[in-house]
Symmetry: C2
Subunit: 340 residues, 2 copies
């Protein structure tokens, strides 16, 4: 509790009969310092048990070596995978991570942004809350030229770099796949379309229908928070329909899975009666029976790329301002839930 006395560069300076300035330079490998002196300094630092005081350093250099991460929630497979990817790079590059969750609330997102701003993070990685429809609460960062990179849940209007997959294309492909399997009445379980990802998936779905000359039935498009309960609800809804769909494409695997489970319990045969497709390649997609056709979403890589870009920008290696959008490769994974 009581702060212990720490060894400072002044202690080392006294110990070696040098100046603090020399110690400071020696410790960070400044070219103007004699190699032998450096060696002595480093050894002395070790024997005295010195550790750099980042606050003093930050105070002077106005850098924190810290990256802020704001995400809707931590405890989803996808998000924790992204964070793992971010962490792997940040750790390697000597950056710390400050993480906070918006819990899908724009207000909390804004509050977290302020906290991060006051913590003086060097840069921010953001995945937006589901109903965030403007990014004004990040203006403080922009004014101070603190770089922001949006990932996954991005904002179209934003003038920051954003990283995502081509949700339109992925949805288009997976829908087309269902059509190729002979499906004609494909239902879509979508998320909040304020969010680019869900809007794009919906658009891709519609485009695929259109291209195949199939009609878009509005009563076959349902929106929800894509939770397991929402999946079950969708199952009930399907049971209530007189004209059943012959396939379901859900915007995530959880919703698809629970919908499928409900229908199975009510006598439907998958994929014979209804085919299924999800999104994300969540672990449950490989467990549910039949295994779920889905889109592989490269979360880990996405995290790594986001972190790499941000850090390179901070190091002055590559400017973020020039690149606007990065699209990662996603991949259709066909499993038993959509095979004839």
């Amino acid at each position: 509790m009581a702060p212990e006395k720490e060894v400072t560069i002044y202690d080392i300076a006294r110990y070696l009969n040098l100046s603090a300035a020399t110690i400071s330079r020696g410790l960070k490998d400044h070219p103007a310092i004699n190699k032998k002196t450096k060696k002595k300094i480093i050894e002395a630092a070790k024997t005295l048990g010195y550790r750099s005081n980042m606050f003093a350093s930050n105070l002077r250099t106005r850098q924190t070596k810290t990256i802020g991460v704001i995400i809707p929630r931590l405890n989803s497979y996808f998000m924790s995978t992204v964070i793992a990817g971010i962490e792997s790079i940040a750790n390697e590059e000597g950056y710390n991570l400050i993480i906070s969750q918006s819990l899908e609330s724009t207000e909390k997102e804004a509050a977290n942004a302020i906290t991060m701003f006051n913590s003086r993070v060097d840069g921010v990685l953001v995945s937006l809350a589901s109903d965030t429809n403007n990014v004004n609460h990040f203006n403080a960062f922009l004014q101070k030229k603190i770089p922001i990179i949006y990932f996954d849940r991005t904002m179209a209007t934003s003038d920051c770099m954003s990283i995502s997959i081509d949700n339109f294309k992925a949805a288009f492909e997976i829908t087309t796949h269902l059509i190729e399997q002979g499906c004609k009445r494909i239902m879509h379980l979508g998320g909040n379309i304020t969010r680019n990802v869900y809007a794009d998936r919906l658009a891709g779905y519609k485009a695929a229908l259109k291209k195949a000359g199939l009609p878009v039935h509005e009563n076959l498009i349902r929106f929800s928070n894509l939770s397991d309960e929402a999946g079950t609800e969708a199952g009930k809804y399907i049971c209530s329909l007189t004209q059943k769909p012959d396939a379901v494409f859900a915007a995530n695997d959880t919703c698809a899975t629970y919908c499928m489970l409900y229908l199975k319990q009510h006598g439907y045969k998958i994929p014979t009666d209804i085919m299924f497709a999800g999104f994300n390649n969540d672990p449950i997609s490989k467990v549910v029976e039949p295994n779920l056709t889905t889109i592989n979403y490269p979360g880990y890589v996405m995290g790594q790329i986001a972190a790499t870009n941000l850090i390179n920008h901070l190091k002055g290696i590559a400017d973020i301002g020039t690149t606007n959008i990065v699209i990662l490769r996603s991949e259709l994974i066909v499993r038993a839930s959509s095979k004839k």
Copy 2:
């Protein structure tokens, strides 16, 4: 990139014709400052766009308002849930979180510990890597009286507070449950027994057998990293046995699930031929068919409790030194995989 000029308390002082000391005190509601003056100060701070410089503050107060978290990996359901719980409390209390993963490597764990130490976190929450068998790499914290709380993967010898569930009891209960269902040859798929959690689960399993007067068959106890592959492997192993087990108790749900899936594919009927039980109450346990009997592990609450205890200690409200072990309530969840 180029650091912008910031508003400091000196700017406010000049603006209001007061001293920096008064501003500093006014901003933090010091009792010696006149209420009207405080009001003026706060308003001025707002209009000037002031934000506190935490480095200057930290430099003086030797506190960082930051908590370090070291965990094996982020991208597991359980861990991300714990982190979510930690974050919820930390955020509320104005603490930042620095998170890093050891990826189950003791060396990386030690490296991360050093980084955190140098980042001067106020306290640390740790869940140990699977093969960590001593906690010497955390000595630096102890020497500087920086509090550590271990959670889930704890270390028996440690003189720090640790938070976990009663793994022995949980394993005992779930094994007993299987026995009550009529099982006599129960297999155990365990994890690395260097780790308390897995050692305790194994012990609980054995104790339950013993209590029921059942023999412990060493060839029915297998150790692995509890991954999905390990589960599949276990399935193969079972197929190769002449004397089959009539139940499997795995130390996590993933391993149980994949073992079960493998056996199902090879003609076994669950639970008729073999019953199954897992651990953790992972989402997949509710998806696999039949649903998996498991132990509900309160990750979110565990995270909250760990964070609360650490922060209370830091605030001087409650000393951590006196409490050694906190055991959370866990709960047997019986599902179809183990019902006659």
